[in-house]
Structures are given as structure tokens and as C-alpha cells.
């Protein structure tokens, strides 16, 4: 049986700018697969190509065995889509939004209402179905969109930044829905996110994508194991972190070293035993150590390892937050 998704050297250029640069991967049936990367990495562009919304510049991809360029109609029949920007009709009720969707996908009249009730129950919106969508909160809209994406029983569900701009609690809820849905109905899910915890918590496998390229692809556990052991992070005063890093390179027990924003992060086994040694070294070099932190590697460290940058650098400015909130509210 064919893979749920198979991507071969997919490329998308916008007027000479390469947004997606020869990516290849495949997703097994029933898998919960994540594309993790910072804003502008090319995640939405990839999803848009796979869902037949835009044409690839070159390369091939198959959904459920169907060619996204040649068998558009079959591909469209096989997929459910939840866009990064809400694509609901605010002047219609939740149920009407779902009903129209069911009609478009050719569900029989008797089937429609039954399916609508079923998906509304799944996302716990049964009692809100008759409200106008413009009255919904950001989280409710997302849930309704997920419900809509499922009505026609797609074999592959696309979720583009499913929790963008939502508060922590709502985000947790949505995670639960996604996980349950994937486990209970066996639908293949491919989601994009720039939240590490989200990818870590949800995905069976993750492709880390940066500047339109996949830089690493594996299970969250294996990705973190690449770094080995623990991460010890030192915060150094006065921009001297590079100086320390240079010195640390000479030490045998240090596996990897990264510096960013005045921090030095080293990976090593038995991190707790190395802390005194690191502090002593710092004192010898007359460096002022502002903080020390020991933890297991996170996907953030993995991203840093593969790209030399932290994802968080690119987000969290007030303007971005504002945009994200406005998006979640649906304009």
C-alpha cells in the first residue's frame, strides 16, 4: 500500500525567491507527522502545494498514491484541511459552515446531519453549533475548523499551525483533540508548527525545516538523542561567551557547543558533574557567570544544533504577537 504522503524533491519559487528547496519525505499511514520550523521556513508553502492550492515549481508529491499535479480531484477528495488563517464564514452558524462543507463533498442528505453531530461532539461544540461563527472565540473557531476538516472522513488531515495565537490552556485542549483523533480514527495527520513543545508532544516524527530545506527528520526522541546526555547552559556577562566557547572546544567531554545571545550551551553526559568544572574554568578566565542551567536537550537545542540559531529569536515581538492574536480572532 502506498504511503499516505510521499514527497520527492519538491520546489516552490516565487519570482526567483526559493521558498521550498528540494524537500523530500514520506509519511506513513496513520502517522502524526510534524513540520517544525521558524516563520518563513516554507511550511505553509509546502502544505499549500500538497493540498493542490498552489502548483509546485518542480518535483513530485503523492497523497494516498495520487499525484498532486495530475490527479488533483482525487487528492482533494482524500484530504481535509485546516488553514493557518481561519477560513470560516462568520455570518453563518457553526452548523451551517459544516453543512455546506458536507454538501460540497457530496455527502448524502441523511449522512450530513449525523456526521455533523459526530464531529461537533468530537470537538465539544455540540451546544455552540447554532451560534454565528463571528461570536466564537479563537479556540472555538480552530476546533470548528478541525471538525469541518473531518466531516468527509479524509484519509489525510492537514493542520497548518493549529494552535497559532491561542492561549496555553486552549492549546493543550487542541493537542488532546488532535492526539485522540489520530489514535481513534487512524487518520494520517501532517501538521506544521513553530512551537517546539507542540511538535515534541504531538508528533510521531518531525521534519525540521529551515530556509525551505529539511535539516533533520526523525522521532522527537532520536532527534534529541543526537545531542546526547544533558545541556548545560551558562550565561556570561559582557559579551565574553565566545571567549569561553573557544576554551571549551579543547575539552574532551564536551560534545557540542553553541553560543547565542550571551549564552554558551554545551552538551555532555552527566551534566551535573561538569558544572563545578565549568564554573571553575570561568573563574580562572575572570568571566562573570550570571546563571547556570542544566536540562535534558529540547527540540530547541536540536534546532540550534542543526541551524546555529534559536527559533525563538524570530518570534515574540509585540507586532508578531498582535498579528497572531488578530489572526486567531479571524479578522
Amino acid at each position: 500500500m502506498a504511503d499516505a504522503i510521499k514527497v520527492e524533491s519538491l520546489v516552490k519559487r516565487f519570482n526567483g525567491f526559493t521558498a521550498v528547496n528540494r524537500i523530500s519525505f514520506s509519511v506513513k499511514r496513520g502517522e502524526l507527522f510534524g513540520l517544525l520550523g521558524p516563520n518563513g521556513a516554507g511550511k505553509t508553502t509546502t502544505i499549500n502545494m500538497l493540498s493542490t492550492l498552489i502548483r509546485p515549481t518542480s518535483g513530485k508529491a503523492y497523497i494516498d498514491g495520487f499525484d498532486i499535479s495530475k490527479n488533483k480531484n482525487e487528492v482533494r477528495n482524500s484530504i481535509g484541511m485546516v488553514f493557518q488563517e481561519p477560513a470560516l464564514d462568520g455570518k453563518l452558524t457553526g452548523r451551517e459552515n459544516l453543512y455546506f462543507h458536507a454538501m460540497i463533498y457530496g455527502l448524502k442528505k441523511e449522512e450530513r446531519v449525523a456526521r455533523i453531530n459526530e464531529v461537533l461532539r468530537l470537538v465539544e461544540l455540540e451546544d455552540k453549533g447554532n451560534f454565528l461563527v463571528e461570536k466564537y472565540s479563537g479556540g472555538m473557531k480552530r476546533r470548528l475548523e478541525i471538525a469541518r476538516g473531518l466531516i468527509h472522513k479524509p484519509r489525510v488531515l492537514f493542520l497548518d499551525e493549529p494552535t497559532l495565537g491561542l492561549d496555553t490552556q486552549t492549546r493543550r485542549h487542541i493537542w488532546d483533540y488532535i492526539k485522540r483523533l489520530n489514535r481513534d480514527s487512524g487518520v494520517t495527520v501532517i501538521l506544521t508548527t513553530h512551537y517546539m513543545e507542540e511538535a515534541d508532544f504531538l508528533c510521531d516524527r518531525i521534519a525540521i525545516i529551515d530556509h525551505g530545506k529539511i535539516v533533520a527528520l526523525d522521532t522527537p526522541k532520536k532527534l534529541k538523542d543526537v545531542l546526547g546526555g544533558d545541556v548545560v547552559r551558562l550565561e556570561i556577562d559582557g559579551g565574553k561567551s565566545e571567549k569561553l566557547a573557544k576554551k571549551l572546544k579543547e575539552l574532551k567531554w564536551v560534545r557540542t557547543i553553541r553560543t547565542y545571545n550571551g549564552f554558551v550551551a554545551v552538551t555532555t553526559s552527566h551534566g551535573e558533574k561538569r558544572i563545578p568544572e565549568l564554573i571553575e574554568l570561568g573563574q580562572q578566565m575572570k568571566l562573570k557567570i550570571k546563571s547556570v542551567n542544566l536540562r535534558k536537550p529540547s527540540l530547541e537545542d536540536v534546532f540550534l544544533h542543526f541551524t546555529g540559531r534559536v527559533i525563538r529569536e524570530q518570534e515574540g515581538s509585540p507586532i508578531d504577537m498582535y498579528k497572531a492574536v488578530m489572526r486567531a480572532r479571524g479578522r
Binding site: I54, M81, E96, M103, L132, R148
Partner: protein
């Protein structure tokens, strides 16, 4: 691409448009406002304007009614076509773009929805104008006028689609309003008989599809027309078909970002 029309999608696009319209009465009232202001103020202000070639007793207001209906249809239909692009990238339509529905069905759905809402606006203006002395001579006249209204709507929704495919931003939107919609409106003879125009301008009027729409409605409702009504009908029909074809063609070719 298979050109089978996807009736469910067409129906959904149409019903959705109507539901939305009835749920925002302010939109209906808003769309009537400009045409009614034109009708009332021009009607009173130019009450004594000479109307050569019209039967005695035809007031300027009554002469103006078909023109103002044409104006309303011109604006609302062109916008309905233009907005398809916006809806496709932001709204509910984006969802339909990834559904197993061919593009021609989406175009037809939009035309049907836009025509229905445009027609409602037009009929409301016609009914309100009864207060100002307008008379509908017969049922046949009424339905002939409706046919012209439908054709005007279809033609300009198609034109809107063509522009939408070529337009990149809201700057283009203003350009279209000022350099296309307004000239089409003034050239159409909506506010005066094109016989009053100098020859070179009148030649341009002959190229404006709205001219035939307004003339046809005047023929049907007032019994005054510059051209024979069948001519008005066929020219407008021809133009509508071309515009729809072009609109659908461009819509299918442009991919959304």
C-alpha cells in the same frame, strides 16, 4: 480539466450569499443609499431639463430610474467579481479551493449569487421609484426589464473576475473604480440621452455594454430607446457571454498565493 458543473458547490455558493445578505440588512440598505441619493437629488435638481424625443409628461426622475438601476448593478456586480480574489485567499472560498470542485463551478456560483443580490437591489430601487412617479406599464415590461438587469449583472461580474485575476493590490482596486467603472457609468447615458453627446464620445458610448442595458430597460419601462430592443438584448447577451468566458478562463489559470 473536466468541465462538468458541480451543482452542489454552485448551490452552496448561491445559498450562502443569500443567507449572508439577509443576515445583514445594513448591507441591503447601504447598497440602496447611493442610487437613491442620485435619483432624488438629480431628479429634483434637474427637474426641468429638456428631454428631446420623449413623450410629453416624462419627468427627468422617471427617465433617470433605469439609468440609476444600471449604475447600482454596474457597481455591485463589478465588486462581486473583484471580491472573488479576496475571498479566495482569506474567506470561506479558500476552503472550496481545496475541495473536489472544479473552478468553473466556483465562477458560476459566484455569478449566480452576485446576480441574485444585484437583482434584489435593482428591483427594490424600481419599487421605491414608484413613489417618485415611476410606472410599470405591464407585467411583460417588468420581466423584460428584469432580463436586462440580469444580463448587466452577469456581464459586469464577469468583468470583475477578469480584473481580479490581473489585480495585485488595493491600489489596482482604486484604479479600476476611477478608470473603468466611472467612465462606463458616464458613457452609458444613465443620466442623459447619449444623443446629446458629441459624435466622438457617442462612439465610445456604443462600445460600453451598459449603454445597451440602460437603453433596453428604458425601452421596456418607458417605451423610449435609442436602439431597437432586440439589438440591446443581443449586444448585451454577447458581451455577457464573452465576459463570463474570459472571467472563468483567468480564474482557472491564476493560482492563489
Amino acid at each position: 480539466m473536466r468541465q462538468v458543473i458541480h451543482f452542489a458547490a454552485v448551490y452552496v455558493l448561491w445559498v450562502r450569499e443569500l443567507k449572508k445578505l439577509f443576515r445583514s440588512p445594513s448591507r441591503i440598505i447601504g447598497s440602496l443609499m447611493t442610487p437613491l441619493l442620485f435619483l432624488i437629488f438629480l431628479g429634483f435638481g434637474l427637474k426641468n431639463m429638456a428631454l428631446p424625443g420623449t413623450p410629453a409628461g416624462t419627468t427627468y426622475t422617471v427617465f433617470l430610474v433605469p439609468g440609476i438601476i444600471g449604475m447600482g448593478l454596474l457597481f455591485s456586480s463589478t465588486f462581486a467579481g473583484l471580491s472573488l480574489l479576496m475571498d479566495r485567499e482569506f474567506g470561506f472560498l479558500k476552503e472550496i479551493m481545496v475541495a473536489p470542485v472544479n473552478r468553473i463551478s466556483i465562477v458560476i456560483g459566484r455569478i449566480l449569487g452576485g446576480t441574485t443580490t444585484g437583482l434584489m437591489q435593482a428591483v427594490l430601487i424600481l419599487l421605491i421609484s414608484l413613489i417618485f412617479g415611476m410606472r410599470i406599464p405591464s407585467v411583460l415590461a417588468f420581466f423584460s426589464a428584469i432580463i436586462f438587469m440580469i444580463l448587466i449583472a452577469v456581464a459586469f461580474i464577469g468583468m470583475g473576475l477578469v480584473f481580479a485575476a490581473k489585480m495585485k493590490d488595493t491600489f489596482g482596486f482604486n484604479l479600476i473604480v476611477n478608470f473603468v467603472i466611472f467612465p462606463l457609468f458616464f458613457l452609458s447615458g444613465a443620466m442623459y440621452s447619449i444623443n446629446n453627446l458629441p459624435t466622438w464620445l457617442r462612439t465610445l458610448s456604443y462600445l460600453d455594454p451598459l449603454t445597451y442595458g440602460v437603453d433596453g430597460m428604458r425601452g421596456a419601462l418607458l417605451g423610449i430607446s435609442t436602439f431597437p430592443m432586440p439589438l440591446d438584448f443581443f449586444v448585451l447577451l454577447f458581451f455577457s457571454l464573452i465576459m463570463v468566458k474570459l472571467g472563468a478562463f483567468f480564474f482557472e489559470r491564476v493560482e492563489s498565493a
